[in-house]
Amino acid sequence: MINDIIEMFSNDFMIRALIGGVLVSLCASLLGVSLVLKRYSMIGDGLSHVGFGSLAIASALGSAAPLQIAIPVVIIAAFFLLRLSGNSKVKGDAAIALISTSALAIGIIAASVSGLNTDINSYLFGSIIAMDKTDVIFCSVLSVFILIIFVFFYNKIFAVTFDENFAKATGTKAGVYNMIIALLTALTIVVGMKMMGSMLISSLIIFPAVISMRICSRFKTVIITSAAVSVVCFLIGLIASYSYSAPTGASIVVVNMIVLLIASLIGRFVKKRK
């Protein structure tokens, strides 16, 4: 078993997948706690579809670096979705569904017209060999940034997540924190999409947060548990996908799903004992 794992990581691409994946899981799980609690979970899903659409169009137009085009588009979409959720004319959930299916449809058309089928498949469902050196560097910078923000602005993030109105009324600029969270989510999604696939990347945001909320009752422990669960599930999923040559993204989601079931059982048991 140990020898298998050592052999597995003797490949360069596996090392990159390992480092990049751990960092993306970490970022997504931290942001996820705030997003899930604010009822913004679907924003992650919407953004990943927008990411797919813009990547497909960029590749179809023959851009050498489709990610550089996808990043600004997804960031704009993030701000837009955030505003929509605050605005009551079109209900947030419907607006997100409209945007994500539209982006997906446009992306698929662009891809099939230009005939880029292999790339598209890896954007949709992810690929373990997709992480290149630049992605790993990008992930490292992003996660350092997110960690700094979560340590130094922890109390503000708590206040804004728990009660935006109170935070605003007592002089905290809640809007700025929402924007920062949206911006970081957009970046995490675009970079994580390559490995997880745009169909599955939002699971990294939602699952760890929901799992940790099942078993923890304090905000601080929810955040820490969420990060730990996310990284551990990623590692198990990565090793399993390599050993059984299963798709990486899907394997990670299945591991998360199993952990959620176990956490729900534990959560119920603990509550009964109280």
């Binding site: 609690l37 604010k38 009822r39 340590v151 130094f152 602005f153 922890y154 109390n155 503000k156 708590f158 206040a159 728990f162 009660d163 109105n165 109170f166 935070a167 605003k168 009324a169 007592t170 002089g171 905290t172 909320m213 923890c216 009752s217 304090r218 905000f219 601080k220 929810v222 109280k274």
Partner: protein
Amino acid sequence: MGELIKCTDLAFSYEDVDVIKDLSFTVNDGDYLCIVGENGSGKSTLTKGLLGLKSPDKGKIIFSDELKKKEIGYLPQQTPAQKDFPASVFEVVLSGRLNSRGLRPFYSKKDKMIAHDNIRKLGIEELMKRSYRDLSGGQQQRVLLARALCAGKKLIFLDEPVTGLDPIVTEEMYRLIDDLNKKDKITVVMVSHDIQSAAKYATHILHLNFEKSFFGTTEDYIKSPLGQYFFGDNKVYSEV
């Protein structure tokens, strides 16, 4: 008895409809002001104005020097997302101190002491380590009230604090607020639907009623045409 808040000739609109016009009132130190009025009379709009989340179309809201914006405690209406929020009671109460931190990222010992004091004051010590989402509605309101006291000890602003509480807990909540006002000399501004209780506890009433709003002491309010509708011998409301 200093003036804490002075509003003159306020006008607010909501989605391009004027809801409040020529409204003037003052809140003095130690007052217990209840803002009442029907749905759509501008209670929430005025609330936003007083909290500085919306600026008036006309008129001025002047806060006294001793009552900087950062010294107002606020008890907002609960959002559905909050009801199952995984946070300990202590974490929630302590977050009321955030406004006094400025850019400093962590809470000091003094902040924690103030949070403890307010938890004790509201009699929720035994809940301190519990999770907010496991509490009853009345307990959650007490926790949020403790948080409001952490944010400001001079004036607290309560937005329909008894919504959704059962009659016994409602009465307890009113007594608690009354105690804070009388014993701890905290000025209270409360938005409420419940005119009967407002008249029972408040020293002053602001009844928003479009062009004919009432502002004055509770005694005068009961004698006024608006008050007579609720407390007098059943006048028809449209005559008011």
